[in-house]
């Protein structure tokens, strides 16, 4: 079972977001980056579990410049066998997906796993696009993944229940919460990651999309507390300030 896991770098959830270059670029000064949690906690760990029971290998792939290597090193410390970095500052999901699909095309991976979304742009697009580009089945938001014979059995949470599907392999999946339990790198893993190499592949921009600008949401106004006795004031404020009635 050879599995490719797509991982990406995202700002830590406590980051104060700001922009530079006329609001066209994310300001990454003083930002702590982490592995996108859906990629690390669920996609990568499930891939490792499958490798541990079925044999094979786990390769992590990310698209980005050399500054993203710490997250690759972490994935290697958690247990990935191989790592690939496509050297490209991708602007949008299509560029990222194209770069990964190009790499994966003739590599015979049985499964390609991604997180259900990144926690910065929340696009949920890369997995589906890779499947489209490679003409493979795609299952999004998978919460459980088992291999039975030559099929993948996948569970997806749906409104009020669970959908169970089987798919031929190779296939592409996006992993949601529940697929695995996060692993903390241990010292043996960190030491082993020292000697694993990161394959760097040149990437090519398709120059289709560019970012014009980013805007921050309006600052949240302070909470107003109104005495429960004073319903009239509440109604007045809902009408004149919140403008909802």
């Amino acid at each position: 079972m050879d599995i490719l896991v797509c991982i990406s770098q995202v700002p830590d959830t406590t980051t104060k977001i700001s922009f530079i270059d006329n609001n066209s670029k994310f300001n990454d000064d003083k930002v702590t980056f982490i592995v996108n949690p859906y990629d690390e906690w669920y996609a990568l760990v499930r891939a490792l579990e499958l490798k541990e029971t079925l044999g094979g290998s786990v390769t992590v792939i990310t698209v980005g410049n050399a500054s993203v290597e710490p997250i690759i090193r972490k994935a290697l410390a958690i247990g990935a066998d191989n790592a690939v970095r496509i050297d490209l500052d991708a602007v949008d999901s299509f560029e990222t997906a194209s770069a990964i699909a190009t790499y994966a095309k003739n590599k015979n991976f049985n499964i390609i796993l991604a997180g259900k979304e990144t926690i910065d742009y929340n696009g949920s697009e890369v997995g589906g696009m890779i499947a489209g580009l490679l003409n493979l089945p795609f299952v999004s938001l998978a919460t459980k993944l088992e291999i039975v014979g030559d099929h993948a059995v996948v569970e997806i949470d749906i409104e009020g229940g669970v959908e169970v599907i089987t798919s031929k392999m190779p296939l592409v999946l996006s992993a949601a919460k529940g697929m695995a339990e996060a692993r903390i790198p241990n010292m043996r893993g960190i030491m082993a990651a020292r000697t694993k190499t990161i394959e760097v592949v040149a990437g090519q921009s398709n120059n289709l999309v560019s970012v014009k600008s980013f805007e921050l949401p309006a600052p949240k106004s302070a909470v107003k507390l109104i005495n429960p006795e004073n319903m009239e004031e509440l109604v007045q404020l809902l009408h004149s300030e919140a403008k909802v009635i």
Binding site: R73, K74, I184, P185, N186, M187, R188
Partner: protein
């Protein structure tokens, strides 16, 4: 205890001075502490029990002898990585960090530094995983700050040594499998010897009713005509420099460790001050509270720089004992002051086990006393800068 919302604090971008691997190690230990230590530590401290089940995980996360070479079961890491591991563990609890410090600096270090090749191969790999646990016996009932006055002794009996005496205040003693014991030989010279649990005449009664390091087991080592094989003597050191070499390593680790305790107190106080509203605004909006918080982060930042620089010097094997004394003394006092101020910011809530503050504060009372008291480190510094010995 309430949910662990801890976040590291790095006001001067000291992270830029760390390697990617050092940060990965720090963050992994931090995640491990959040998962394994904080959820259980308050309960263990309240009940005064050492959480023995953490030993395996401590080994896996690299807390036991991280700087010991790989061929002896260690990780061959540098001193800053060791410091960061101690910092993160002590962020959880000084008692757990004490167990890791003792195992690393006071048990594995002397075996590695002063032991024979056979001793290294026999003990180090098992100590690195926690399969074997060790303790360090220097302090005696009548010999604390002045270890040269010890009376525990070994007599050469031809094919073995006969060990007599008693040690007290020994961290890990109640469950340790081996003890590194410092004792005077027939010529009155201090030697180190490895004593194993099960040797006849060797007992380790536990010390009860501590108000500090309650989640760490402390006890005595009592030697009543214990026959110790000759091959258990550490061959390569003689005199006080043996135990002092170990203490230098442990004290260095403590200078990092207490930054963890201080950060935890500061982090909790900062969050509490922002969330708690009195007189119509958050506590953080009052100048008196801002003074406390601003001074805390200033002191933490100074302590981080001291520890980091000392780590660089230790990596280059240039750190002097007086430099280590300065960092241990300054940083422990800094952490204790911060714990006390943070306790006040929490008001009544700071009194309960709902918050980690009082546990850290009480723990730090031991830390400021063991591994050389606050006074003793001042005397070491004083002697270094004046050339005058004020000990006697």
């Amino acid at each position: 205890m309430s949910k662990d919302r801890f976040q590291g604090h790095d006001f001067y971008q000291i992270d830029d001075l760390l390697t990617e691997e050092q940060k990965l190690i720090r963050d992994s230990v931090r995640a491990w502490v959040k998962k394994e230590v904080t959820p259980i530590i308050e309960d263990h401290a309240q009940r005064c029990v050492f959480p023995k089940h953490l030993i395996k995980g401590l080994g896996e996360i690299g807390a036991f002898g991280p700087y010991i070479p790989v061929e002896y079961g260690g990780q061959g890491l540098d001193q800053i990585s060791y410091g960061l591991i101690m910092q993160e563990i002590e962020r959880g609890d000084s008692g757990i960090r004490s167990t890791a410090s003792v195992q690393s600096s006071l048990v594995m270090y002397p075996i590695y530094k002063y032991g024979s090749e056979e001793q290294r191969r026999k003990y180090l790999p098992k100590l690195a995983t926690g399969e074997l646990m060790g303790c360090f016996g220097l302090t005696e009932p009548d010999s604390g700050s002045d270890p040269s006055s010890m009376i525990t002794n070994i007599k050469d009996k031809g094919d073995h040594y006969l060990l007599n005496g008693a040690k007290m205040w020994i961290s890990n003693s109640p469950f340790a499998d081996i003890a590194i014991v410092w004792a005077k030989n027939d010529e009155g010279k201090i030697r180190g010897i490895i004593v194993e649990r099960g040797m006849e005449g060797f007992t380790t009664p536990e010390t009860h009713d501590k108000w500090s390091l309650r989640a760490s087991a402390t006890g005595e080592l009592v030697f009543d005509n214990v026959k110790v094989p000759k091959e258990n003597l550490l061959p390569n050191v003689e005199g006080l420099k043996g135990p002092l070499g170990c203490l230098n390593s442990a004290r260095y680790g403590i200078s990092w460790g207490v930054i963890g305790a201080a950060m935890d107190c500061y982090d909790s106080a900062l969050r509490y001050a922002k969330e708690r509203v009195q007189f119509g605004k958050p506590l953080a909006g009052f100048q008196l509270q801002q003074k406390k918080l601003a001074e805390m982060i200033t002191e933490i930042t100074k302590a981080q720089l001291l520890a980091w620089r000392l780590g660089v010097l230790r990596n280059e094997e240039r750190a002097t004992p007086a430099q280590i004394s300065m960092a241990k003394r300054n940083n422990v006092a800094m952490a204790l002051d911060i714990a006390r101020e943070a306790r006040q910011i929490h008001g009544g809530m700071g009194i309960t086990g709902e918050y980690p503050i009082m546990r850290h504060m009480m723990n730090l009372e031991s830390v400021i006393t063991y591994e050389g008291t606050h006074d003793i480190h001042l005397l070491i510094l004083g002697m270094e800068i004046t050339g005058e010995n004020a000990f006697k």
